[in-house]
Symmetry: D2
Subunit: 272 residues, 4 copies
């Protein structure tokens, strides 16, 4: 299956403004790209790119004053199958975890493992370790948080989501990430695209989504506590410790977002 | 049964210091007093008293510089029976609550009803209203909080106790108070004495205790989410919205507490 | 000068819903009323009233399902002069404060005196006690908080306003109230009307306002850290410890506010 | 000048427990080592080491049940001079910062840049950019926080330190780190040794210290908002975004710390 994914963001800047955009498909999917993924700006500006410490591709730009748009487009080969379920993926004792997974056991800006540890163990110590324990966390968070766009709050943390019991996909993910880390399961926060393929209508307006990856059985697996069901067409853009590491754009100055559009669908539907 | 209750607090003050002490048995138990309840200071200082807006007896004192002790002693008639259980005490619709109970539905310093409301309804909307619902809250809080004196934190709120899942009797009570208020049950925070009568040894050192009273079936009933079992010999000193209203002492200046002793036992055991 | 003040609030209720409205002019201004203050509902419902523990007049209503409006209208005699300035109003030592002012030294839901005390003393210990110290607090808060309606957050506390440095009139007032209490000055939170009389255009849409009263020189004085300048035509509706005590309406069920209108002007301009 | 630095930590573990220790001198000082830096455990256990994403040397160990000690010892060549002061170190515009410094502009567990940004700009926008601005932040924090070991709180963040105005060296550093990042100056949190050389007695018991490094004029410079004066003998052990990245030990299980000893002095004084 070929997926067409992309986005367009338009800002109004009162002055020349440096920014970092993390909008390209994650390098782990680069081999799946059909043709070139475009990253364009209007007016056209030269971007310089680098990989951050998590391997995300970051575009550095100095946007001119006035209206400024960023846009990406990519066609990506995808299995067409739902998120894999690997029920027998084992949980590694901490001493056996690869060195580079250990950072994903630590507390971070929006995932206060120090504050939530007691609750994590009380809630999940009797669930079977491994895949079942992560699924138990997802089931819990999925039912625990009262979803509502009106509850969106960019400074809410996992602790806040737990305390208030409400939020959006970002809050579901932060809470599940924090709980898994408390349980000594390396867990990272992901952003990217999810298609509506296979879902019944009506469809909400497309947006970037948040989910998480956990390290079990020697590899990373996607879990999505917001949707909590395998989905078709999940294309990662970035991962990190939490939302602080993977903003779509990190803008160093005042700005107004005037347009925000995201698309993710079967390529046949959208490209000639 | 006659109970002997009292306390002694000694402070070191670097300078003359005004303070308010809420240490006398609550006026609702004054008819049960045998003889006079003493309130003494050393050195002897004249205290002036008043009832605060919750009906608590407050002693105002200007303590001299140096070592200063406050002490109370009372002998109180008590039923000798355990805390009453009134399973059929009904929950009143808000519109039928007496005016003077409504203040105990509001948020307060340590009971953030605005933050905990979603969770309160999610947890308890299916429990039967009235006594059973309050008992469900107490059962929940009793098992939810991980008790430990090392978790004592004088600025922890109900929201903090919920988020961290640990605390002392004050935290149990704040969380249960906040949840009951979210459920539209007037609830107030109480401090006072509880004896060890009827309990097996070993006994911890005596301390003041926190519990709560809820308004059901036209009257106030004691619930104790920390102990969560009827107790013998519960003597209230003060009630209010939360711990901010009923400090043992409210001291307006620097000080060091050098001695703190509480007693509550059958009078025959302790008085000639 | 005669002022015409009033408001109209319209809600949509999915079901019969009990509520408490604190919308009438405060009893301390009742002697200034010209004619009767109206409190009407549409559809017409019988309200029962009571004074809460702060002396505010509270209307209890059970609103029917559907659209429901509350409206008040009053004509009030006013000095026509600006808020009095009493530079020599002294600060009372705590031991000399009247008993009924002491509650306004305590922490409350949105005024965490326990958390802000160190900062209060560090900031203001060198300011002259009394009127000058309160004015120093108001000057500080007035310049400290970055005003913006987009920063409005109904769960922000004084501590949050201090930490984030942004907010609306409610946040200015909570922060100033908390700081004054830390400094042992009894301070209460007020809501009510302020006219635009004497101000240059343009005029913002009318709203209820928040300010505070402090106890100095044996009486209560209005201070307004948001505007921080004497104003003409200030009519108090309610006071309490903080915003948790004086909601315009305390509604016990889901609801949508569909209309909100406030007026406060010279009576000649608005009434025949 | 030769410095002798090291530490000894003893724990009691109820069961076999994995842990990560970050106790060795930072790799940037390895060339200054005289002889070998020892890292010993008692009982002797094989450790495996790795560099984390910040370049810190991490020892992974599975400690046996019972008493367990970790100890390091190193002799390090040091300039013997105080922390360098480079008044003309310039602040780079964001667009000119090296890619690998950008992570040190982001929010992190204990440094909530999103919450403190308004205050950072209000406080420091008029200070000269570069070294002077960082010094202004340090001067501010140094005077702002009320130091006291009794205020130590392992879950306090920069926002909490700002709100409460009290803390220990960790809190000074977190607040200064967060403020500098808000001002677009890459800033990292450091832990390590500081000697008492050049200070008058009396000397407090040795402990690990926290300070920060900022990126100005193309390189990293140490600033120490707690001491706020150049010091002699500063040996870095680790750096990261904040204290969450550089715990002395990250222990995955219950434990009790029974001994904690740190030394840092001129080698001649302590070694034969």
């Amino acid at each position: 299956m070929r997926l067409h994914v992309g986005c367009e963001l338009t800002f109004e800047f009162p002055q020349e403004t440096p920014l970092i955009a993390i909008l390209n498909v994650h390098h782990s999917r680069v081999a799946d790209l059909i043709g070139v993924e475009t990253f364009t700006t209007s007016p056209a500006i030269q971007a310089s790119g680098y990989h951050d410490q998590f391997g995300n591709w970051c575009n550095r730009i100095v946007a001119p004053a006035g209206a400024f748009s960023l846009s990406t487009n990519a066609v990506v080969n995808d299995s067409g199958g739902p998120d894999p379920v690997v029920l027998n993926a084992v949980q590694h004792p901490v001493q056996n975890l690869p060195d580079d997974t250990l950072v994903y056991l630590m507390g971070s800006r929006y995932c206060e493992t120090d504050l939530l540890s007691d609750n994590a163990w009380k809630l999940f110590e009797h669930s079977p370790p491994g895949w079942q324990r992560v699924q138990a966390v997802c089931d819990y968070v999925h039912h625990y948080i009262h979803f509502g766009y009106e509850f969106s709050n960019p400074t809410r943390t996992a602790y806040g989501a737990f305390g208030e019991g409400r939020g959006v996909c970002r809050d579901y993910t932060h809470l599940a990430v924090a709980l898994c880390r408390c349980l000594n399961i390396p867990t990272r926060y992901c952003t990217g695209y999810i298609t509506d393929i296979g879902l019944p209508p009506p469809y909400a307006e497309m947006d970037f989504c948040a989910w998480m990856e956990v390290f079990l059985g020697g590899q990373w697996h996607a879990f999505d506590p917001r949707n909590n069901a395998p989905r078709i067409g999940r294309i990662k853009v970035a991962h990190g410790r939490d939302a602080a590491d993977v903003p779509l754009t990190n803008i160093f100055g005042p700005n107004v977002l005037t347009k925000f559009k995201v698309w993710a669908d079967e390529a046949a539907h959208t490209l000639a």
